[in-house]
Symmetry: C2
Subunit: 129 residues, 2 copies
């Protein structure tokens, strides 16, 4: 998703590589790809891609669109589409216009799709398996 | 510095693009390039590159080697070499095996290069011109 063809980092592209741990909140203007760990919020104005090794655990994850191959445990609010691939694991309330959770994906959380204008969903029931 | 030749983000490369703000601590295994702002510690196992727009303000910045073009305000501990380019501004105590501070660089801090095993040096001599 993220355009990485350039040898130099695109100013709009933010990588958190595997092994990277971010403890804190990440705000990004452009695209963000997270292969590492973020313990904090990730607020991306562009695309957010969580790689298979990516892991976000925080309050919020916001993006234009989000493509989660890794693990997210946060309240996710995506303007557009939230994709959770089969390797993805999403825990947390999700608000997205579209939500695509592939087989194998683990999605625990309350989702709210559609217009995502309203306030963020409150963290209510704990999903139990 | 960071090898971005691959179309996919190398798991060892972490970008914080310009405009990116990280409030919190970043730990990375591979390489890190920061063009954005980090308000927190940056602990990188690999190379750390702070681009001209990069700005780290935190407690610690650790890397294998660090190449600072931007601004760092932290206690920097670099295993290998810390390079501060002419646009670089480094404030904080620095520990590195090697320290290359280019002309024009602003480096305000106490540095300690070499083996970084012992405890931190106490503030002793006050440099006077």
């Amino acid at each position: 998703m993220l355009s990485r063809g350039k040898s130099s980092p695109n100013a709009s592209l933010t990588y958190l590589a595997e092994g990277t741990e971010l403890e804190g909140n990440l705000k990004a203007k452009g695209q963000v790809r997270i292969d590492g760990t973020v313990r904090g919020s990730v607020l991306v104005e562009g695309e957010l891609e969580i790689g298979p090794t990516g892991f976000i655990e925080g309050e919020q994850v916001k993006a234009k669109n989000a493509h989660v191959q890794g693990k997210v445990r946060a309240a996710v609010a995506v303007e557009g589409k939230l994709t959770l691939t089969k390797s993805g694991q999403l825990e947390g309330d999700v608000r997205a216009r579209a939500l695509d959770i592939e087989a194998g994906a683990v999605f625990i959380g309350r989702s709210q799709t559609g217009e995502v204008k309203a306030a963020l969903p409150q963290p209510s029931k704990t999903a139990s398996e």
